[in-house]
Protein backbone atom coordinates (compact mmCIF):
# COMPACT_ATOMS: atom_id res chain seq x y z
CA UNK A 1 0.00 0.00 0.00
CA UNK A 2 2.65 2.48 0.97
CA UNK A 3 4.41 2.05 -2.40
CA UNK A 4 1.30 3.08 -4.39
CA UNK A 5 0.69 6.08 -2.15
CA UNK A 6 3.76 8.25 -2.28
CA UNK A 7 1.85 11.22 -0.95
CA UNK A 8 1.31 11.10 2.73
CA UNK A 9 -2.38 10.85 3.44
CA UNK A 10 -4.36 10.39 6.52
CA UNK A 11 -5.37 6.87 7.23
CA UNK A 12 -8.71 5.93 5.65
CA UNK A 13 -8.67 8.76 3.09
CA UNK A 14 -8.62 7.13 -0.34
CA UNK A 15 -9.55 10.30 -2.31
CA UNK A 16 -7.31 11.21 -5.23
CA UNK A 17 -7.49 12.83 -8.64
CA UNK A 18 -6.33 10.91 -11.69
CA UNK A 19 -5.28 12.60 -14.88
CA UNK A 20 -6.91 10.37 -17.47
CA UNK A 21 -5.95 12.46 -20.46
CA UNK A 22 -8.91 14.78 -21.14
CA UNK A 23 -7.71 17.74 -23.12
CA UNK A 24 -8.96 21.27 -22.84
CA UNK A 25 -10.31 23.03 -25.93
CA UNK A 26 -7.68 25.36 -27.32
CA UNK A 27 -9.17 26.04 -30.76
CA UNK A 28 -10.56 29.42 -31.76
CA UNK A 29 -13.50 30.69 -29.72
CA UNK A 30 -15.90 32.35 -32.11
CA UNK A 31 -17.63 34.35 -29.45
CA UNK A 32 -20.83 36.22 -28.92
CA UNK A 33 -21.30 37.90 -32.28
CA UNK A 34 -20.72 34.64 -34.13
CA UNK A 35 -23.32 32.88 -31.97
CA UNK A 36 -25.79 35.70 -32.59
CA UNK A 37 -25.20 35.54 -36.34
CA UNK A 38 -25.71 31.77 -36.29
CA UNK A 39 -28.96 32.14 -34.37
CA UNK A 40 -30.07 34.79 -36.87
CA UNK A 41 -29.30 32.70 -39.94
CA UNK A 42 -30.83 29.54 -38.44
CA UNK A 43 -34.00 31.40 -37.48
CA UNK A 44 -34.22 32.97 -40.93
CA UNK A 45 -33.81 29.60 -42.62
CA UNK A 46 -36.32 28.12 -40.21
CA UNK A 47 -38.87 30.78 -41.16
CA UNK A 48 -38.97 29.23 -44.64
CA UNK A 49 -38.66 25.67 -43.36
CA UNK A 50 -35.12 25.24 -44.69
CA UNK A 51 -33.24 22.71 -42.60
CA UNK A 52 -36.53 21.43 -41.21
CA UNK A 53 -38.89 18.67 -42.25
CA UNK A 54 -40.71 18.68 -45.59
CA UNK A 55 -44.01 19.23 -43.81
CA UNK A 56 -42.84 22.47 -42.28
CA UNK A 57 -41.62 23.75 -45.65
CA UNK A 58 -45.10 23.46 -47.18
CA UNK A 59 -46.85 26.40 -45.57
CA UNK A 60 -44.18 29.13 -45.79
CA UNK A 61 -43.32 28.19 -49.37
CA UNK A 62 -47.00 28.08 -50.29
CA UNK A 63 -47.58 31.53 -48.83
CA UNK A 64 -44.50 32.81 -50.64
CA UNK A 65 -45.86 31.51 -53.95
CA UNK A 66 -49.30 32.96 -53.21
CA UNK A 67 -47.62 36.33 -52.62
CA UNK A 68 -45.70 36.26 -55.88
CA UNK A 69 -48.20 34.75 -58.33
CA UNK A 70 -50.58 37.73 -58.53
CA UNK A 71 -47.57 40.00 -59.18
CA UNK A 72 -46.44 37.72 -62.01
CA UNK A 73 -49.96 37.70 -63.49
CA UNK A 74 -50.16 41.51 -63.33
CA UNK A 75 -46.80 41.80 -65.06
CA UNK A 76 -47.86 39.35 -67.74
CA UNK A 77 -51.06 41.34 -68.34
CA UNK A 78 -49.13 44.63 -68.42
CA UNK A 79 -46.63 43.25 -70.94
CA UNK A 80 -49.29 41.64 -73.12
CA UNK A 81 -51.60 44.65 -73.25
CA UNK A 82 -48.74 47.18 -73.52
CA UNK A 83 -50.26 49.14 -70.64
CA UNK A 84 -48.82 52.49 -69.57
CA UNK A 85 -48.85 51.58 -65.90
CA UNK A 86 -48.97 48.56 -63.64
CA UNK A 87 -52.48 47.65 -62.46
CA UNK A 88 -51.41 48.00 -58.81
CA UNK A 89 -49.04 50.50 -57.16
CA UNK A 90 -45.91 49.12 -55.51
CA UNK A 91 -47.04 50.54 -52.19
CA UNK A 92 -50.55 49.12 -52.52
CA UNK A 93 -49.52 45.53 -53.16
CA UNK A 94 -48.74 44.59 -49.54
CA UNK A 95 -52.02 46.17 -48.37
CA UNK A 96 -54.01 44.11 -50.86
CA UNK A 97 -52.21 40.92 -49.82
CA UNK A 98 -52.35 41.64 -46.10
CA UNK A 99 -54.28 38.45 -45.26
CA UNK A 100 -51.41 36.35 -46.63
CA UNK A 101 -48.80 38.39 -44.76
CA UNK A 102 -50.78 38.09 -41.52
CA UNK A 103 -51.03 34.33 -41.97
CA UNK A 104 -47.29 34.14 -42.55
CA UNK A 105 -46.51 36.08 -39.37
CA UNK A 106 -49.03 34.05 -37.43
CA UNK A 107 -47.56 30.74 -38.57
CA UNK A 108 -43.88 31.63 -38.36
CA UNK A 109 -43.61 33.82 -35.25
CA UNK A 110 -44.70 31.01 -32.88
CA UNK A 111 -42.53 28.60 -34.86
CA UNK A 112 -39.58 30.85 -34.11
CA UNK A 113 -40.01 31.40 -30.37
CA UNK A 114 -42.78 29.19 -28.92
CA UNK A 115 -40.96 25.93 -29.51
CA UNK A 116 -37.85 27.22 -27.75
CA UNK A 117 -40.05 27.89 -24.73
CA UNK A 118 -41.94 24.63 -24.94
CA UNK A 119 -38.87 22.41 -25.15
CA UNK A 120 -37.02 24.61 -22.68
CA UNK A 121 -34.14 25.31 -25.03
CA UNK A 122 -34.00 29.00 -24.10
CA UNK A 123 -31.87 28.35 -20.99
CA UNK A 124 -29.52 26.37 -23.23
CA UNK A 125 -29.10 29.36 -25.54
CA UNK A 126 -28.30 31.55 -22.57
CA UNK A 127 -25.67 29.09 -21.35
CA UNK A 128 -23.74 30.10 -24.50
CA UNK A 129 -22.00 33.47 -24.75
CA UNK A 130 -25.12 35.17 -26.14
CA UNK A 131 -27.20 37.38 -23.89
CA UNK A 132 -30.85 38.37 -23.73
CA UNK A 133 -30.37 41.29 -26.11
CA UNK A 134 -28.57 39.07 -28.64
CA UNK A 135 -31.32 36.46 -28.60
CA UNK A 136 -34.07 39.05 -28.98
CA UNK A 137 -32.22 40.94 -31.72
CA UNK A 138 -31.41 37.76 -33.64
CA UNK A 139 -35.01 36.49 -33.52
CA UNK A 140 -36.48 39.92 -34.29
CA UNK A 141 -34.09 40.51 -37.18
CA UNK A 142 -34.67 37.01 -38.55
CA UNK A 143 -38.45 37.29 -38.63
CA UNK A 144 -38.31 40.85 -39.99
CA UNK A 145 -35.91 39.70 -42.74
CA UNK A 146 -38.13 36.74 -43.57
CA UNK A 147 -41.12 39.08 -43.83
CA UNK A 148 -39.11 41.51 -45.94
CA UNK A 149 -38.21 38.70 -48.34
CA UNK A 150 -41.89 37.72 -48.47
CA UNK A 151 -43.11 41.24 -49.17
CA UNK A 152 -40.23 42.53 -51.31
CA UNK A 153 -40.08 39.54 -53.68
CA UNK A 154 -43.38 40.39 -55.43
CA UNK A 155 -42.27 44.03 -55.70
CA UNK A 156 -39.10 42.88 -57.46
CA UNK A 157 -41.24 40.78 -59.80
CA UNK A 158 -43.38 43.86 -60.51
CA UNK A 159 -40.34 46.09 -61.01
CA UNK A 160 -38.51 43.73 -63.36
CA UNK A 161 -41.75 43.19 -65.25
CA UNK A 162 -42.35 46.93 -65.48
CA UNK A 163 -38.88 47.45 -66.95
CA UNK A 164 -39.43 44.60 -69.39
CA UNK A 165 -42.71 46.21 -70.43
CA UNK A 166 -40.70 49.40 -71.12
CA UNK A 167 -42.59 51.54 -68.63
CA UNK A 168 -41.07 54.85 -67.58
CA UNK A 169 -37.80 54.01 -65.77
CA UNK A 170 -37.59 56.98 -63.37
CA UNK A 171 -41.24 56.72 -62.40
CA UNK A 172 -41.04 52.98 -61.78
CA UNK A 173 -37.79 53.21 -59.81
CA UNK A 174 -39.27 55.88 -57.56
CA UNK A 175 -42.38 53.78 -56.93
CA UNK A 176 -40.27 50.69 -56.32
CA UNK A 177 -38.07 52.49 -53.78
CA UNK A 178 -41.14 53.85 -51.98
CA UNK A 179 -42.62 50.36 -51.95
CA UNK A 180 -39.43 48.91 -50.45
CA UNK A 181 -39.40 51.48 -47.64
CA UNK A 182 -43.04 50.75 -46.86
CA UNK A 183 -42.62 46.96 -46.77
CA UNK A 184 -39.48 47.35 -44.62
CA UNK A 185 -41.55 49.26 -42.06
CA UNK A 186 -44.34 46.72 -42.38
CA UNK A 187 -41.90 43.84 -41.84
CA UNK A 188 -40.47 45.37 -38.67
CA UNK A 189 -43.91 46.20 -37.29
CA UNK A 190 -45.50 42.82 -38.03
CA UNK A 191 -42.44 40.90 -36.80
CA UNK A 192 -42.47 42.84 -33.54
CA UNK A 193 -46.17 42.32 -32.87
CA UNK A 194 -46.04 38.66 -33.86
CA UNK A 195 -43.00 37.85 -31.71
CA UNK A 196 -44.31 39.65 -28.62
CA UNK A 197 -47.57 37.68 -28.71
CA UNK A 198 -45.87 34.39 -29.58
CA UNK A 199 -43.24 34.74 -26.85
CA UNK A 200 -45.91 34.60 -24.17
CA UNK A 201 -47.14 31.11 -25.00
CA UNK A 202 -45.27 27.83 -25.33
CA UNK A 203 -48.21 26.42 -27.32
CA UNK A 204 -47.68 26.87 -31.04
CA UNK A 205 -51.32 26.51 -32.02
CA UNK A 206 -52.48 28.99 -29.44
CA UNK A 207 -49.79 31.46 -30.51
CA UNK A 208 -50.97 31.26 -34.12
CA UNK A 209 -54.57 31.91 -33.12
CA UNK A 210 -53.59 34.81 -30.87
CA UNK A 211 -51.46 36.53 -33.53
CA UNK A 212 -54.06 36.15 -36.26
CA UNK A 213 -56.80 37.32 -33.91
CA UNK A 214 -54.90 40.50 -33.12
CA UNK A 215 -54.11 41.15 -36.79
CA UNK A 216 -57.49 40.44 -38.35
CA UNK A 217 -59.81 41.55 -35.58
CA UNK A 218 -58.03 44.89 -35.24
CA UNK A 219 -58.16 45.36 -39.01
CA UNK A 220 -61.79 44.25 -39.19
CA UNK A 221 -62.79 46.53 -36.34
CA UNK A 222 -60.88 49.53 -37.70
CA UNK A 223 -62.14 49.20 -41.27
CA UNK A 224 -65.73 48.74 -40.06
CA UNK A 225 -65.49 51.84 -37.87
CA UNK A 226 -63.89 53.79 -40.73
CA UNK A 227 -66.68 52.77 -43.08
CA UNK A 228 -69.25 53.97 -40.56
CA UNK A 229 -67.36 57.24 -40.01
CA UNK A 230 -67.20 57.68 -43.77
CA UNK A 231 -70.95 57.18 -44.12
CA UNK A 232 -71.48 59.69 -41.32
CA UNK A 233 -69.27 62.33 -42.92
CA UNK A 234 -71.14 61.99 -46.23
CA UNK A 235 -74.34 62.67 -44.33
CA UNK A 236 -72.75 65.86 -43.02
CA UNK A 237 -71.63 64.56 -39.63
CA UNK A 238 -68.27 66.30 -40.03
CA UNK A 239 -66.22 63.31 -38.93
CA UNK A 240 -63.78 63.13 -41.85
CA UNK A 241 -60.88 63.53 -39.44
CA UNK A 242 -62.13 60.58 -37.44
CA UNK A 243 -61.32 58.20 -40.32
CA UNK A 244 -57.65 59.09 -40.07
CA UNK A 245 -57.51 58.83 -36.28
CA UNK A 246 -59.31 55.46 -36.21
CA UNK A 247 -56.69 54.12 -38.62
CA UNK A 248 -54.07 54.28 -35.88
CA UNK A 249 -55.47 51.22 -34.17
CA UNK A 250 -54.53 48.40 -36.53
CA UNK A 251 -51.12 47.49 -37.99
CA UNK A 252 -52.25 47.38 -41.61
CA UNK A 253 -54.03 50.73 -41.60
CA UNK A 254 -51.07 52.19 -39.72
CA UNK A 255 -48.72 51.28 -42.56
CA UNK A 256 -51.33 52.41 -45.07
CA UNK A 257 -51.51 55.79 -43.34
CA UNK A 258 -47.73 56.23 -43.22
CA UNK A 259 -47.27 55.48 -46.89
CA UNK A 260 -50.18 57.58 -48.07
CA UNK A 261 -48.90 60.54 -46.07
CA UNK A 262 -45.23 60.33 -47.00
CA UNK A 263 -44.60 57.68 -49.66
CA UNK A 264 -46.96 58.90 -52.35
CA UNK A 265 -49.38 56.01 -52.03
CA UNK A 266 -53.11 56.27 -52.61
CA UNK A 267 -54.91 55.41 -49.40
CA UNK A 268 -57.11 52.34 -49.05
CA UNK A 269 -59.16 54.15 -46.40
CA UNK A 270 -62.85 54.56 -47.19
CA UNK A 271 -63.31 57.76 -49.15
CA UNK A 272 -59.74 57.39 -50.41
CA UNK A 273 -58.54 60.19 -48.13
CA UNK A 274 -55.41 59.32 -46.21
CA UNK A 275 -54.06 61.22 -43.22
CA UNK A 276 -52.72 64.72 -43.80
CA UNK A 277 -49.05 65.49 -43.19
CA UNK A 278 -49.62 66.49 -39.57
CA UNK A 279 -51.55 63.29 -38.87
CA UNK A 280 -48.96 61.41 -40.92
CA UNK A 281 -46.28 62.41 -38.41
CA UNK A 282 -48.39 60.84 -35.67
CA UNK A 283 -48.68 57.70 -37.80
CA UNK A 284 -44.91 57.47 -38.21
CA UNK A 285 -44.36 58.09 -34.51
CA UNK A 286 -46.89 55.43 -33.53
CA UNK A 287 -45.35 52.94 -35.97
CA UNK A 288 -41.82 53.51 -34.69
CA UNK A 289 -43.12 53.55 -31.12
CA UNK A 290 -44.81 50.18 -31.61
CA UNK A 291 -41.65 48.68 -33.08
CA UNK A 292 -39.58 50.01 -30.17
CA UNK A 293 -42.21 48.90 -27.66
CA UNK A 294 -42.27 45.36 -29.02
CA UNK A 295 -38.48 45.24 -28.78
CA UNK A 296 -38.67 46.48 -25.20
CA UNK A 297 -41.39 43.98 -24.30
CA UNK A 298 -39.35 41.13 -25.77
CA UNK A 299 -36.33 42.23 -23.75
CA UNK A 300 -38.45 42.28 -20.60
CA UNK A 301 -39.96 38.91 -21.46
CA UNK A 302 -36.58 37.24 -21.81
CA UNK A 303 -34.97 38.82 -18.76
CA UNK A 304 -36.22 35.83 -16.83
CA UNK A 305 -37.37 32.81 -18.73
CA UNK A 306 -38.40 29.33 -17.72
CA UNK A 307 -35.76 28.83 -15.07
Amino acid sequence: MAVEHPVATQAGDQTRIHNIGYRTYDGPRLGRSYATRSLYSQSLRGAYGLGRSVKSKVLPMLLFVVMCVPAAIMVAVAVATKANDLPVDYTRYAIVMQAVISLYVASQAPQSVSRDLRFKTVPLYFSRPIETADYVRAKFAALASALFILTAAPLIVLYVGALLAKLDFADQTKGFAQGLVSVALLSLLFAGIGLVIASFTPRRGFGIAAVIAVMTISYGAVSTLQAIADAQSINGGGSADAIAWIGLFSPVTLIDGVQSAFLGASSAFPGGVGPSNGEGVVYVLVTLGLIAASYGLLMRRYKKVGL
Binding site: S102, L103, G205, A209, I212
Partner: protein
Amino acid sequence: MYDPTVARLTYRALLGRRRALILGALPLLLIIISVLVRFLAGADDQTASDLLGGLALATMVPIIGVIAGTGAIGPEIDDGSVVYLLSKPVKRPTIIFTKLIVAIAVTMVFSALPTFIAGFILNGNGQQIAVAYTVAALVASIAYAAIFLLLGTVSRHAVVFGLVYALVWEALFGSLVEGARTLSVQQWSLAVAQKVAGGDMVTSDVALPTATVLLAVVTVLATWYAGQKLRSLTLAGEE
Protein backbone atom coordinates in the same frame (compact mmCIF):
# COMPACT_ATOMS: atom_id res chain seq x y z
CA MET B 1 -72.52 9.07 -26.37
CA TYR B 2 -71.74 11.82 -23.85
CA ASP B 3 -69.07 11.33 -21.23
CA PRO B 4 -69.14 13.88 -18.40
CA THR B 5 -65.52 13.32 -17.37
CA VAL B 6 -64.18 13.92 -20.87
CA ALA B 7 -66.40 16.99 -21.07
CA ARG B 8 -65.06 18.35 -17.79
CA LEU B 9 -61.46 17.84 -18.91
CA THR B 10 -62.13 19.52 -22.24
CA TYR B 11 -63.80 22.50 -20.58
CA ARG B 12 -60.77 22.92 -18.37
CA ALA B 13 -58.40 22.66 -21.32
CA LEU B 14 -60.40 25.23 -23.29
CA LEU B 15 -61.13 27.76 -20.59
CA GLY B 16 -58.16 27.30 -18.32
CA ARG B 17 -55.59 30.03 -17.87
CA ARG B 18 -54.86 32.38 -20.75
CA ARG B 19 -57.04 30.66 -23.31
CA ALA B 20 -60.12 32.08 -21.65
CA LEU B 21 -58.56 35.52 -21.88
CA ILE B 22 -58.35 35.57 -25.66
CA LEU B 23 -61.74 33.92 -25.94
CA GLY B 24 -63.20 36.59 -23.69
CA ALA B 25 -61.30 39.51 -25.25
CA LEU B 26 -62.84 39.15 -28.70
CA PRO B 27 -66.51 39.34 -27.60
CA LEU B 28 -65.61 42.19 -25.26
CA LEU B 29 -64.07 44.10 -28.17
CA LEU B 30 -67.20 43.55 -30.26
CA ILE B 31 -69.41 44.91 -27.51
CA ILE B 32 -67.13 47.92 -26.92
CA ILE B 33 -67.16 48.71 -30.63
CA SER B 34 -70.95 48.39 -30.69
CA VAL B 35 -71.28 50.82 -27.80
CA LEU B 36 -68.91 53.25 -29.55
CA VAL B 37 -70.79 53.00 -32.83
CA ARG B 38 -74.17 53.44 -31.17
CA PHE B 39 -72.80 56.42 -29.28
CA LEU B 40 -71.18 58.05 -32.32
CA ALA B 41 -73.51 57.09 -35.13
CA GLY B 42 -76.80 56.39 -33.40
CA ALA B 43 -79.10 53.48 -34.10
CA ASP B 44 -79.10 52.53 -37.76
CA ASP B 45 -80.22 49.23 -39.28
CA GLN B 46 -77.69 49.25 -42.11
CA THR B 47 -74.80 50.02 -39.75
CA ALA B 48 -75.89 47.27 -37.37
CA SER B 49 -76.14 44.81 -40.22
CA ASP B 50 -72.69 45.80 -41.57
CA LEU B 51 -71.03 45.52 -38.20
CA LEU B 52 -72.63 42.22 -37.22
CA GLY B 53 -72.13 40.72 -40.67
CA GLY B 54 -68.62 42.03 -41.29
CA LEU B 55 -67.05 41.82 -37.87
CA ALA B 56 -69.06 39.36 -35.80
CA LEU B 57 -70.07 36.69 -38.29
CA ALA B 58 -67.23 36.97 -40.81
CA THR B 59 -64.29 37.36 -38.44
CA MET B 60 -65.14 36.64 -34.84
CA VAL B 61 -67.19 33.45 -35.13
CA PRO B 62 -64.60 31.63 -37.32
CA ILE B 63 -61.71 32.64 -35.05
CA ILE B 64 -63.53 31.57 -31.89
CA GLY B 65 -64.50 28.40 -33.76
CA VAL B 66 -60.88 27.69 -34.65
CA ILE B 67 -59.69 28.26 -31.10
CA ALA B 68 -62.42 26.15 -29.52
CA GLY B 69 -62.59 23.45 -32.21
CA THR B 70 -58.90 22.73 -32.57
CA GLY B 71 -58.20 23.58 -28.92
CA ALA B 72 -60.60 20.83 -27.81
CA ILE B 73 -58.31 18.09 -29.11
CA GLY B 74 -55.23 19.56 -30.81
CA PRO B 75 -53.00 20.26 -27.78
CA GLU B 76 -53.68 16.80 -26.35
CA ILE B 77 -52.58 15.10 -29.56
CA ASP B 78 -49.68 17.53 -29.81
CA ASP B 79 -48.16 16.74 -26.43
CA GLY B 80 -49.11 13.06 -26.52
CA SER B 81 -51.32 13.07 -23.42
CA VAL B 82 -54.24 11.89 -25.55
CA VAL B 83 -52.96 8.31 -25.14
CA TYR B 84 -54.05 8.37 -21.49
CA LEU B 85 -57.53 9.31 -22.63
CA LEU B 86 -57.59 6.78 -25.45
CA SER B 87 -56.44 3.96 -23.16
CA LYS B 88 -59.55 4.35 -21.01
CA PRO B 89 -62.58 2.18 -21.80
CA VAL B 90 -64.40 4.99 -23.57
CA LYS B 91 -65.44 4.64 -27.19
CA ARG B 92 -63.50 6.96 -29.43
CA PRO B 93 -66.55 8.28 -31.29
CA THR B 94 -67.90 9.08 -27.81
CA ILE B 95 -64.76 11.09 -27.06
CA ILE B 96 -65.15 13.01 -30.31
CA PHE B 97 -68.87 13.58 -29.77
CA THR B 98 -68.31 14.86 -26.24
CA LYS B 99 -65.52 17.16 -27.35
CA LEU B 100 -67.71 18.38 -30.18
CA ILE B 101 -70.53 19.24 -27.76
CA VAL B 102 -68.09 21.14 -25.57
CA ALA B 103 -66.53 22.98 -28.54
CA ILE B 104 -70.00 23.92 -29.86
CA ALA B 105 -71.07 25.15 -26.44
CA VAL B 106 -67.94 27.25 -25.97
CA THR B 107 -68.17 28.72 -29.49
CA MET B 108 -71.84 29.56 -29.00
CA VAL B 109 -71.33 31.21 -25.62
CA PHE B 110 -68.37 33.28 -26.81
CA SER B 111 -69.71 34.22 -30.25
CA ALA B 112 -73.51 34.03 -30.44
CA LEU B 113 -74.19 35.59 -27.05
CA PRO B 114 -72.01 38.68 -27.68
CA THR B 115 -73.51 38.97 -31.17
CA PHE B 116 -76.95 39.08 -29.59
CA ILE B 117 -75.89 41.69 -27.03
CA ALA B 118 -74.09 43.77 -29.67
CA GLY B 119 -77.17 43.61 -31.91
CA PHE B 120 -79.37 44.92 -29.13
CA ILE B 121 -76.89 47.70 -28.33
CA LEU B 122 -76.64 48.69 -31.99
CA ASN B 123 -80.27 49.05 -32.93
CA GLY B 124 -82.39 47.31 -30.31
CA ASN B 125 -83.20 44.34 -32.56
CA GLY B 126 -84.77 46.53 -35.25
CA GLN B 127 -85.92 44.45 -38.24
CA GLN B 128 -84.96 41.34 -36.24
CA ILE B 129 -81.31 41.96 -37.14
CA ALA B 130 -79.89 41.00 -33.76
CA VAL B 131 -81.88 37.78 -33.63
CA ALA B 132 -81.06 36.91 -37.23
CA TYR B 133 -77.33 37.26 -36.78
CA THR B 134 -77.49 35.42 -33.46
CA VAL B 135 -79.20 32.51 -35.17
CA ALA B 136 -76.57 32.64 -37.90
CA ALA B 137 -73.80 32.60 -35.29
CA LEU B 138 -75.43 29.66 -33.48
CA VAL B 139 -75.74 27.65 -36.68
CA ALA B 140 -72.24 28.57 -37.81
CA SER B 141 -70.85 27.58 -34.38
CA ILE B 142 -72.04 24.01 -34.86
CA ALA B 143 -70.53 23.63 -38.33
CA TYR B 144 -67.27 25.42 -37.51
CA ALA B 145 -66.73 23.41 -34.32
CA ALA B 146 -67.25 20.13 -36.20
CA ILE B 147 -64.97 21.10 -39.09
CA PHE B 148 -62.17 22.42 -36.92
CA LEU B 149 -62.39 19.49 -34.53
CA LEU B 150 -61.86 17.22 -37.51
CA LEU B 151 -58.89 19.33 -38.62
CA GLY B 152 -57.47 18.99 -35.11
CA THR B 153 -57.43 15.21 -35.44
CA VAL B 154 -56.12 15.20 -39.01
CA SER B 155 -53.27 17.67 -38.95
CA ARG B 156 -50.73 19.03 -36.53
CA HIS B 157 -51.10 22.39 -38.23
CA ALA B 158 -54.84 22.45 -37.68
CA VAL B 159 -54.96 26.05 -36.50
CA VAL B 160 -53.23 27.33 -39.62
CA PHE B 161 -55.42 25.34 -41.98
CA GLY B 162 -58.50 26.37 -40.06
CA LEU B 163 -57.53 30.01 -40.36
CA VAL B 164 -56.66 29.62 -44.04
CA TYR B 165 -60.18 28.28 -44.60
CA ALA B 166 -61.86 30.92 -42.47
CA LEU B 167 -59.93 33.95 -43.67
CA VAL B 168 -58.58 33.17 -47.12
CA TRP B 169 -61.31 30.93 -48.50
CA GLU B 170 -64.39 32.55 -46.98
CA ALA B 171 -63.22 36.16 -46.92
CA LEU B 172 -60.87 36.48 -49.89
CA PHE B 173 -62.07 33.90 -52.41
CA GLY B 174 -65.67 34.33 -51.25
CA SER B 175 -65.53 37.99 -52.24
CA LEU B 176 -63.79 37.31 -55.58
CA VAL B 177 -65.24 34.05 -56.86
CA GLU B 178 -69.01 33.57 -56.79
CA GLY B 179 -68.78 29.77 -56.66
CA ALA B 180 -66.67 29.74 -53.51
CA ARG B 181 -69.61 31.18 -51.62
CA THR B 182 -71.64 28.03 -52.10
CA LEU B 183 -69.02 26.19 -50.09
CA SER B 184 -68.87 28.60 -47.21
CA VAL B 185 -70.22 28.01 -43.72
CA GLN B 186 -70.74 31.74 -43.38
CA GLN B 187 -73.12 31.84 -46.36
CA TRP B 188 -75.01 28.76 -45.17
CA SER B 189 -75.61 30.34 -41.81
CA LEU B 190 -76.60 33.60 -43.50
CA ALA B 191 -79.21 31.67 -45.46
CA VAL B 192 -80.74 30.56 -42.17
CA ALA B 193 -80.51 34.12 -40.84
CA GLN B 194 -82.25 35.46 -43.95
CA LYS B 195 -85.19 33.19 -43.25
CA VAL B 196 -85.37 34.45 -39.66
CA ALA B 197 -85.00 38.15 -40.47
CA GLY B 198 -87.43 38.06 -43.36
CA GLY B 199 -86.43 41.52 -44.58
CA ASP B 200 -83.76 42.43 -47.11
CA MET B 201 -81.13 43.50 -44.58
CA VAL B 202 -79.65 40.01 -44.29
CA THR B 203 -78.95 38.26 -47.57
CA SER B 204 -77.22 35.07 -48.57
CA ASP B 205 -76.04 33.68 -51.89
CA VAL B 206 -77.19 30.18 -51.03
CA ALA B 207 -80.78 28.97 -51.01
CA LEU B 208 -82.11 27.81 -47.64
CA PRO B 209 -82.68 24.10 -48.52
CA THR B 210 -79.18 23.77 -49.99
CA ALA B 211 -77.70 25.52 -46.99
CA THR B 212 -79.43 23.38 -44.37
CA VAL B 213 -78.62 20.14 -46.19
CA LEU B 214 -74.97 21.14 -46.61
CA LEU B 215 -74.74 22.26 -42.97
CA ALA B 216 -76.13 18.97 -41.70
CA VAL B 217 -74.04 16.85 -44.05
CA VAL B 218 -70.80 18.67 -43.25
CA THR B 219 -71.37 18.53 -39.50
CA VAL B 220 -72.28 14.85 -39.40
CA LEU B 221 -69.58 13.80 -41.86
CA ALA B 222 -66.86 15.77 -40.09
CA THR B 223 -67.81 14.29 -36.72
CA TRP B 224 -67.99 10.76 -38.07
CA TYR B 225 -64.66 11.06 -39.84
CA ALA B 226 -63.00 12.60 -36.78
CA GLY B 227 -64.15 9.55 -34.81
CA GLN B 228 -62.68 7.25 -37.46
CA LYS B 229 -59.47 9.26 -37.46
CA LEU B 230 -59.15 8.93 -33.69
CA ARG B 231 -59.59 5.14 -33.94
CA SER B 232 -56.41 4.84 -35.96
CA LEU B 233 -54.45 7.69 -34.44
CA THR B 234 -50.70 7.51 -34.68
CA LEU B 235 -48.67 9.67 -32.38
CA ALA B 236 -45.83 11.42 -34.12
CA GLY B 237 -42.92 13.17 -32.50
CA GLU B 238 -42.32 16.85 -32.93
CA GLU B 239 -41.16 17.50 -36.50
